[in-house]
């Protein structure tokens, strides 16, 4: 791809790109090195290299056993909240987006505008009243209080609609109808296949949104057994004031959770670009 002539012009390009890479890697490298350190070394040694007495396995052991193996539970919780929430969000958003693209009904554009407006509403506006509402039906403090709100993705509907408009030709639907296929079957067997890139993107987008969410679980949950990783780590971080051992736990825990999600993100990277093109260029 790069021939000899372009070698010269690629030097400034590479210089900028390497500098940018160093910037993005800095906190990650820091946390990886720090995860191997004792609390004393965390504050006493250079942050971008190992200390003389690395104790990664001791830290990891403590990370997973502290507070009755809380950390492993938090990882599982995060996975459940993000995985299940994103799954249902994707199902509903795909159906709704497809319906808005392919069916004409009264109030369609109004509904779409309201859903689009939902993308713009700050999370804090939702989280607080939602707490009192869910409390009215005794759901606060339960898994459901974080799971159910995660199942709504207005952005997913937006993506699904523009993608369906573009990638599911009316003629195909019409032909299938003439062949006697029911509308629901057309959706589940044909439309979803054509919309797969958008569907995967909606799922990934919602997965990361839920995984990264902090305010909602912060507001909803009391019992640390139901916490996702983000909330659990900040709970430990708030205990560093009294007990420095928690610094090591926070740092090691942050390293492990960051690595896990980075692996997921990187391995699924190619799906992102496919669906994102739709959202970006056809909006």
């Amino acid at each position: 791809m790069v021939n000899r002539r372009t070698w010269l012009t690629s030097i400034p390009v590479m210089a900028v790109m390497i500098a940018a890479a160093a910037y993005f890697l800095l906190p990650v490298l820091w946390v990886l090195f720090s995860a191997t350190k004792s609390p004393g070394d965390l504050f006493g040694t250079f942050g971008l290299w190992f200390s003389d007495s690395p104790q990664l396995f001791e830290n990891l052991g403590r990370l997973f056993t502290q507070d009755d193996n809380a950390y492993g539970g938090w990882l599982v919780n995060s996975l459940v909240y993000a995985g299940v929430g994103a799954l249902f969000a994707t199902l509903m958003a795909t159906g709704a987006g497809y319906a808005m693209a392919k069916y004409e009904f009264k109030g369609r554009e109004a509904l779409f505008s309201i859903v689009l407006g939902g993308v713009l509403v700050p999370a804090t506006v939702i989280a607080l009243p939602l707490y009192f509402l869910l409390n009215g039906v005794s759901l606060t403090g339960t898994y459901w209080s974080v799971l159910l709100p995660g199942m709504v993705s207005p952005f997913g509907v937006y993506l699904a609609r523009i993608y369906a408009k573009d990638s599911v030709p009316d003629e195909v639907i019409e032909a299938a109808r003439i062949d006697g296929a029911g509308d629901l079957r057309i959706f589940y067997t044909m439309a979803t296949r054509m919309m797969t890139p958008a569907i995967v993107t909606i799922f990934l987008f919602q997965f990361v949104a839920i995984w990264n969410n902090y305010l909602l679980p912060l507001v909803m949950l009391n019992d640390s057994k139901t916490f996702p990783v983000t909330l659990g780590l900040t709970l430990w971080n708030s205990q560093t004031q009294r007990d420095p051992m928690f610094y090591t736990l926070v740092v090691t825990g942050a390293a492990v959770s960051a690595i896990l999600l980075i692996i997921v993100m990187v391995s699924l990277q190619r799906f992102w670009k496919a669906g994102l093109t739709a959202g970006a260029t056809k909006g």
Binding site: V2, T6, S10, V13, M14, M17, A20, A21, F24, L25, P27, V28, W30, L42, F46, G47, L48, A96, Y98, A99, K102, Y103, E104, F105, L111, I114, G117, L120, V121, P122, T124, V125, L128, P129, L130, L133, L148, P149, V152, P154, G182, D183, L184, F187, V208, N212, Y214, T230, T234, V250, A254, I262, M265, V266, W272, K273, L276, T277, A280, T281
Partner: protein, 307 residues
């Protein structure tokens, strides 16, 4: 786009109506329950207040006060300052984010980059790190006792305090930039890839240089993408919450009303004023609407196609 439904709807109205219901209703119900209802609740809640009497040792009562909470919020200097602060923050963050992710994307797709896939992964990676954890990590990198960067700088006699009053907004902007630049870059890369390669070839044959291609072909094609990225960044900056919340204990420059969202959270949870908090939250939402729609209107106005 013409729709197929009109002709078929006459033929099988019931069956199609049923399909429409099955596809649409679950989302609409959830959207109503978890988006519309809470907003309605917040608006209603913002019209009430909880009053005690005497020494305040008895149970309080709830009273209807119309827009008093809004008046109180807007009469609270620290809240008004926090709005000004996020607007200033948006002025710093939005151009920084858009330009940085645009440059990264153009470099990656310039054809002069070695290992573009490796770099793309590295840039995108921080998106997978939750904002709370990113803030915790940068928090360590912002204080001299744990920050290798500050230690190196101080060896050269440069004492830089990222969490000082003058620089704290940049410190926060940096965390957001770190987390989202790669994601925005990926959106732009995706839309660059959808441009047919022949377009560039034709331009090159016509003797256009690399910058001319960027200026006259790539940027105009990227316009809608960049608009989208900008709107998302605007919404994100106005909602600033997690980063100052995490950094607050580390510095004197962040108070409990640092951003409107933080102020609302503080009122709702630390100071048990959920009604005032609701009013503040509604104000934040209104500002977000005004700015994102305002921006969209501005760029979509006829004759305003600068590039």
């Amino acid at each position: 786009m013409t729709s197929i439904t009109r002709s078929t709807a006459r033929r099988k109205p019931l069956k199609q109506r049923l399909t429409l219901t099955v596809l649409l209703v679950p989302f609409v119900l959830f959207f109503a329950a978890f988006f519309v209802l809470p907003i309605g609740y917040a608006i209603v809640d913002s019209l009430f207040t909880v009053r005690s009497s005497g020494l305040g040792f008895g149970a309080p009562e709830k009273v209807f006060v119309f827009f008093e909470n809004y008046a109180r919020a807007l009469a609270t200097p620290s809240f008004v300052e926090s709005i000004g602060r996020v607007l200033l923050f948006a002025v710093i963050e939005v151009p920084l984010m858009v330009v940085f992710s645009l440059v990264l994307a153009l470099l990656l797709e310039s054809g002069k980059a070695h290992f573009p896939r490796v770099f793309r992964v590295i840039y995108f990676m921080p998106y997978g790190v939750p904002g709370v954890i990113a803030s915790l990590l940068w928090g360590f990198l912002y204080v001299p006792s744990t920050s290798p960067v500050l230690q190196i700088l101080s060896n050269f006699g440069l004492d830089f305090t990222p969490l000082g009053g003058d620089s704290v907004l940049f410190a926060i902007a940096n965390i957001a930039l770190w987390g989202f630049a790669g994601y925005n870059m990926l959106i732009i890369v995706a839309s660059l890839k959808s441009v047919p390669g022949e377009l560039y070839e034709a331009a090159r044959i016509d003797g256009a240089g690399e910058f001319a291609i960027i200026r006259h072909i790539k940027l105009p094609l990227l316009r809608p993408t960049v608009v989208l990225v900008t709107v998302f960044t605007i919404i994100g900056t106005l909602q600033l919450f997690v980063e100052p919340l995490v950094l607050k204990p580390l510095t004197t420059a962040i108070n409990s009303d640092f951003t409107p969202n933080l102020a609302a959270y503080n009122q709702a949870f630390a100071q048990s004023n959920p009604n005032l908090a609701a009013a503040m939250a509604v104000i934040v939402a209104l500002i977000a609407f005004v700015f994102s729609f305002g921006f969209l209107k501005l760029v979509n106005r006829k004759g305003n196609r600068a590039w």
